[in-house]
């Protein structure tokens, strides 16, 4: 089963800053991650927001570093099992 890594729709106020970017991934594609591990950070203006793994499993990155994202975006998935 795959769990999506979704940015919360209210992660930041999109009426003020419509877009953010994926600033860093802290694991490589295919890495095994624990639930709750900080897997990525999003930058909005000069503020960064940590994104944690919603499940344990194998990480698949769908928005690469420096990719532009909006609240609610799916930036990757975690393949469980």
């Amino acid at each position: 089963m795959a769990t999506e890594i979704t940015l919360a729709p209210d992660l930041w106020d999109a009426t003020v800053n419509p877009e953010g970017i994926v600033a860093n991934w802290f694991f490589q594609e295919g890495a095994s991650v624990g639930k709750g591990a900080t897997v990525a950070e999003i930058m909005v203006e000069k503020t960064t927001i940590d994104i944690v793994a919603p499940a344990a499993g194998r990480l698949h990155i769908s928005v690469a570093k420096d990719g532009v994202v909006k609240p609610g975006a799916v930036i990757g998935t975690i393949e469980e099992g």
Binding site: A23, N24, F26, F27, Q28, A31, A37, K46
Partner: protein, 342 residues
């Protein structure tokens, strides 16, 4: 938690500080914008939330005051980490650094210790002008009583920070802004590394051969390690096998590793993002020649900022900073190859 994570330098530093703060109640942090903001280059991110404002203290814009307070706290038994936001700002607080922190162990005949870390941001390359872009490695390394470290990657940053906090002497911890892995400033990919979860130390005075080679020795540190590795990669295609040494600490300086390498290769290029004259590049050359001038088969080369303030203008700044092309050209020069003038 897994240890296959690839962490940035800024996160490595803040993790090192957090782990030492958990282990030792004497450790605390102060400086401008280090608490609520988490440090303008991210080195203290997350600390306020975990440790509170008694141990993570935002200060007024008065380096003279809070660096002096750090020296007093250290001599009274605390282990402060004090951030000087940009190393370029040292002018207003230098008395606290070089007459108090650096000398009080000596002046007291060893009765007082000064276990203080002065953490500071260095380096240019991003058009921040002459009073925000210097490294000033040699300015601090020149003064007896200070230890000086300048890591090139996250693994070393964490281990050197833990060593710095545990050291009973004042340590100037110089992190390069362009290596921090900040979202708003480009960073070489290799600066972020796998980072063990547990606390560990990287000892002072041990340089690291980051790329073994037989034809020429490139000695450098901090950001320029990445530029040197890029040059070495380009030179490999021309059949030139360069050894790259990351000094990691300026004081103590691992002259032995440098000398051993030059004894093997016979050729030396020293690269520093600091000013050229009276600096690290000359110190390295002198260390080799004092040992045995016969090690060198060719005149050594030095690459550093050519004794001018760092320009704000992007093309001018890029011109004065060493880069992979100028490093490769200098290496070719030691080998008597053409195309030295890049």
């Amino acid at each position: 938690m897994s240890s296959n994570r690839i962490m940035t330098v800024s996160r490595a530093i803040s993790e090192a500080i957090a782990q030492e703060m958990r282990a030792d109640p004497r450790v605390f942090v102060m400086g401008e914008d280090i608490a609520k903001y988490g440090g303008i280059f991210g080195s203290t991110a997350g600390l306020l939330a975990e440790f509170g404002e008694e141990r993570v203290r935002d200060t007024p814009i008065s380096e003279t005051g809070f660096i002096g307070a750090g020296v007093g706290a250290a001599m009274s038994g605390m282990r402060p980490i004090v951030e000087l936001m940009f190393v370029d700002f040292f002018g207003v607080c230098m008395d606290s650094i070089y007459n108090l922190a650096a000398k009080n162990i000596y002046f007291s005949g060893g009765h007082y210790k000064v276990p203080m870390v002065i953490m500071t941001a260095t380096g240019g390359g991003y058009s921040d002008a002459g009073q925000h872009s210097q490294t000033l490695h040699a300015t601090f390394a020149h003064l007896p009583g200070l230890k000086v470290v300048a890591p090139s990657n996250a693994y070393d940053a964490k281990g050197l920070m833990i060593s710095a906090i545990r050291d009973d002497s004042p340590v100037v911890f110089m992190f390069h802004k362009g290596l921090q892995g900040l979202a708003w400033m480009a960073s070489p990919e290799a600066a972020a590394t796998e980072l063990p979860e547990e606390a560990y130390t990287v000892p002072f005075g041990e340089a690291k051969v980051v790329r073994p080679g037989k034809d020429v020795t490139i000695v450098t540190l901090s950001m320029m390690v990445h530029r040197a590795l890029e040059a070495a990669k380009a030179l490999e295609k021309e059949g030139i096998d360069a050894e790259v040494i990351d000094l990691r600490t300026l004081v103590p300086l691992d002259r032995k590793t440098v000398i051993q390498s030059v004894a093997k290769t016979g050729r030396l290029v020293v690269v520093d993002e600091d000013y050229k004259s009276f600096g690290l590049t000359a110190e390295i050359l002198a260390s080799v020649v004092e040992e045995d001038p016969a090690y060198l088969k060719a005149a050594p080369r030095r690459l550093a900022v050519p004794d001018v303030p760092i320009p704000y203008s992007r093309p001018m700044e890029q011109f004065v900073l060493p880069d992979a092309e100028t490093i490769a050209a200098a290496v070719r020069g030691t080998l008597g190859k053409a195309r030295e003038a890049a």
